[in-house]
Subunit: 320 residues, 2 copies
Amino acid sequence: MSRRSLSVGDLFESARNGDRGALARLLSLIEGGGTQAREISRLSYPLSGDGYTVGLTGAPGSGKSTLTSSIIRHLRALHQEVAVLAVDPSSPFTGGAILGDRVRMQDHATDRGVFIRSMASRGHLGGLSLATPEAARLLDAVGRRLILIETVGVGQVEVEIAGKADTTVVVVNPGWGDSVQANKAGLMEIADVFVINKADRNGTDETRRDLEQMLELGDLASEAWRPPILPVVATEHQGVGALWDAVLQHRAFIEAAGELARRREFRVREELREVVARRLEQRALELTGSERWAELQLQVVNRTVDPWAAADEMLKAIDD
Amino acid sequence: MSRRSLSVGDLFESARNGDRGALARLLSLIEGGGTQAREISRLSYPLSGDGYTVGLTGAPGSGKSTLTSSIIRHLRALHQEVAVLAVDPSSPFTGGAILGDRVRMQDHATDRGVFIRSMASRGHLGGLSLATPEAARLLDAVGRRLILIETVGVGQVEVEIAGKADTTVVVVNPGWGDSVQANKAGLMEIADVFVINKADRNGTDETRRDLEQMLELGDLASEAWRPPILPVVATEHQGVGALWDAVLQHRAFIEAAGELARRREFRVREELREVVARRLEQRALELTGSERWAELQLQVVNRTVDPWAAADEMLKAIDD
């Protein structure tokens, strides 16, 4: 029996029965977008919702991947299953898959309780910002209820993706490298839990004070969650238990306060709007064969019409 | 006379007459999107096209900003004017504007031949990927004909922006940090010129060999441009003249081969398509007040309909 002949529905059933190969193929189809991705979305959607997503982000070099590996080890010691989506060009998956020179995560390669997958946006209409939540819902729907989403903490899309998890962990280092320094504002905004990784180095106390000061400036309401700041040495597996406890505390907090449901509803509405926009974009693409489009393009190329005016013209043509 | 009362047209005229404050205000309006941004686009578009854009990208910490500063110094010694757009959360501008703790670029702060500006996507419908080329066209239209665009070399949007310049310089370091290692593929694709910055450190030769090997793998056509690899120590202002010569050689090469015109035409077509998509997105937003939309949202929140199916429903409603 050739696997190629399996339908999306067959693959989905196999994945639900624990077939990792089928799950991997479904994730590839999601990355590729297209009608099969939509079919997967249709199958996953009603079965998802019980899962919990934890975002993990920080500058390249902050040790996110080592930390992810250490969190997996912690969870496996508790006999808990976990799935990881790596949306990070500096991740051993995303990068390593291409270059074959990274092995860190292979510690977990033979453990059936762990499923790890890098995400790339190969043709998905909404790029990573739509492909990633769809991938997370698929994992959820096939029974992988705890999903870590590792993203690089630089870049418009990537920071947003991490910020859309149920709990978001922001990883910094003692001394705040130049790069992190500058991106503070964006990362502060999405952090539910701070990790100071490489906390055996100088500057950990200063970094903690720095973060605390920024949290003070944030002027939180007294009943709001205050992001804890946890020192970790991921390479030595130190502090990871306390970090995970903080994640669980945050989860309990937002569940009790009704905040989780509110966040998720808000995210669904945002996603729906984005999907509508992408569908409209597709429609715009379909128009690019028209004569009027070719004319307008030429006018824009020749600088007799600017792109926004040309777009208005094009939209009028859609309505006619 | 209050500046607030000036129209976009007045600001544009002032900027063309060298008023830096007016130029800065116009750039803020572009970032904000909205009707004034479109008016600026309309004014700039026919007057632009003579300018030349140079993208400069690399991982955080690779020394892009120091290199930019060093390039500015080189150009000023040649009495050449230059404008810089920093689309980079780790840039002293983007970051420094928020945190006020960076001074590197202030070397050039009082030089009227230099105009430096950080870009953020504050409400622009197309985000940085549309706001940046519009900003570059404005600079071009008001007479700033050489524009450096510094972006962080991680992140979907940011790498794309650098890749859309006329000449793209990719900055790496000896030893390739973990982060750069992984992002090689994306950066290799857009590079017209490679810089090994911090070339006074160990590992420069290995990095050069590494890059050369990857270029071999790229299997270039014999008549194609082969990206040169230039060692630079930006902190010491070493090698920057040779780097700039390579940029000029690349420019001469693509101009002679007709490649520049082809690249620009392709980019214009791409941009037009993106603008149409953004306009359609805006239309989708306008629909969010409707009753049908509210119903569909609720169904998606309750998981009885998936987002893509809901989007299809919504689009049907647009057509009716």
